[in-house]
Symmetry: C2
Subunit: 344 residues, 2 copies
Amino acid sequence: MDIRERKMKILHAIIKDYIATAEPVGSRTLAKKYNLGISPATIRNEMADLEEMGFLEQPHTSSGRVPSDKAYRIYVDQLMKVEKINKVIEETINKEYESHVGELDKIISQTSKILSNLTNYTSLALTPQLCSASIKHIQLVPLQEDKILMVIISKEGVVRNVVINIDKKINSDTLIKISNVLNELIRRSSILQFEQEVFDILNVLNEEERILLRDIIPIIKDTLSNNDGIKVYTNGITNIFNFPEFKDLEKAKEFIDLWEQKNILVQLLSSGTDDGINITIGSENKMDEVRECSLITATYQLNGRTLGTIGVIGPTRMEYSRVVGLLNHLTGQLNELVKRTLID
Amino acid sequence: MDIRERKMKILHAIIKDYIATAEPVGSRTLAKKYNLGISPATIRNEMADLEEMGFLEQPHTSSGRVPSDKAYRIYVDQLMKVEKINKVIEETINKEYESHVGELDKIISQTSKILSNLTNYTSLALTPQLCSASIKHIQLVPLQEDKILMVIISKEGVVRNVVINIDKKINSDTLIKISNVLNELIRRSSILQFEQEVFDILNVLNEEERILLRDIIPIIKDTLSNNDGIKVYTNGITNIFNFPEFKDLEKAKEFIDLWEQKNILVQLLSSGTDDGINITIGSENKMDEVRECSLITATYQLNGRTLGTIGVIGPTRMEYSRVVGLLNHLTGQLNELVKRTLID
DNA sequence: TGTTAGCACTCAATAGTTGTGAGTGCTAAT
DNA sequence: ATTAGCACTCACAACTATTGAGTGCTAACA
């Protein structure tokens, strides 16, 4: 048997055991529980090596070993076998979704619930972000003499309201004209760089109206670039209390404090670069507050365009194989539901 | 000295002490700290009486006394002296508000922050609810052939979007006609009982359009009656960890779980009947989850109409006098700011 | 040379023990 | 009526074994 392979086998066993028990795992237990065919003493030697290589850590001299973030990384990339969803779970999920067809927000919120229920971790789900490519229609509504309401509607059915203050009084004819121009710009998909290329459209506007339009465009840009419109659904925050690594009140507090700032959560979930499933383990996280957590995220799509993110956060000792399996399945379902909801 | 008055004096001292220390207070400490002019033994006798009367409780035989909810009630109603805001705090508040003029949501969210910062309790703040009396304008926007977007705008500047699915295709002329009728109904403030009295308005519509209108009205009613549009801003959830009464993880968990359901929070804050300041102490709460908490709420108004609620939640051993003082001042400021924001 | 049994040592966690102090209620004296 | 004095209670903190799962090292073995 290749020496390398044996080390990996031992590492794999340690990780599995630690994920299940949260107790530092020792050589004797390991030999007893997993039929590795070698004695505790040999395992001890291998463990010492693995520790030197940075895969294991020892909380104190006379305790077992605990996997490091590096170990989880190798586990996630090479060792683990993604769990397949079983029939019962599959049906549970379908049932949970049943009552929520038709409204995107409800579907996303329900997804978050399902995630936390089935994983016992804390779940997050983001509604789609508005982006320039997805704008379908812009409507300007007069509010008061010097205030207009801009309603931006995306192809995905996301609606955003922005109140715009203006210097002068405007009448509704002007608004309609400007609305038309805006929507024409949208049709030509050049709303963000309109200045260079669309003089022909602007011809219908007089000087005053052009100025107003010029004021409105940056507001649209702003609206698209900020996260205010994204809703964050979250469930199972207090699940972290179930994990011994958070029985320290200070840590629990830090974790829960995160949840007060939507922005941080959005940033956290948006940091995964790939489409598909993204795993960030402990110290790999950019944010200090989650350096002892792992984050598994997945995206949902419509026609190949990424709309939003869902994810699960928990201790680094996370059941990666189970969560990844679940997320795989769930994004499939979600994509399907989103498609049906938004196209119908 | 009247015997009644002496008892009250002792009770007052016990409550003040317990609010400050969270420790059961005994006769000796009481005599030493507060110059009551009587000996510990006398105090003991009085305390025994007060316990019998239901104002005090004894965690165990050989410990001091703890005030009951009934005691806090009498404290809040008769004994306490509402604390006046001091200059430093006042200026802090003004500074905190400074950067947030102009947007109602920001002002409310900032209020929540101020509340939790200055009290060290958990704060809540609700944005205004939509109600029929406050609708200013309704706009129907075509989304897809069989979908329309209804934008409801209130006098307070609150905007709500509702997507409406309809059976048939509709053209934009129909939408404009119906919009006009709706807004005419609003002007006559009879949108919710339109059937009886407004036949003259309906004359402009043909049969098909009337059916559509009849479908839309209940959706408006629904939208007005449900809480979906209310935003709940909350800060300082983890402040409860500072209180010894929540060092029991189970209790902390129960408390934090509350915060996942917006509906519960809205219900909680809306339960106060009076305008002005409302105090609910421990077991007076209707909801089990907050039976060990006290809730102090206040409302903010515009032109005499209550728009929303702000409040603070914490252990029954709350610094009522300080919080009430702060809320008094804060609602004043808030009303002023709201007025400026919404009228300008 | 890799593997393993044996041994002395480490250290967190648990349970038992004891002392301390703030509290009480009761009684008798003021 | 008030209070000093006294015996009693009980949570809490500090201390002291005891236990047990773990280690590293060494020497013997295949």
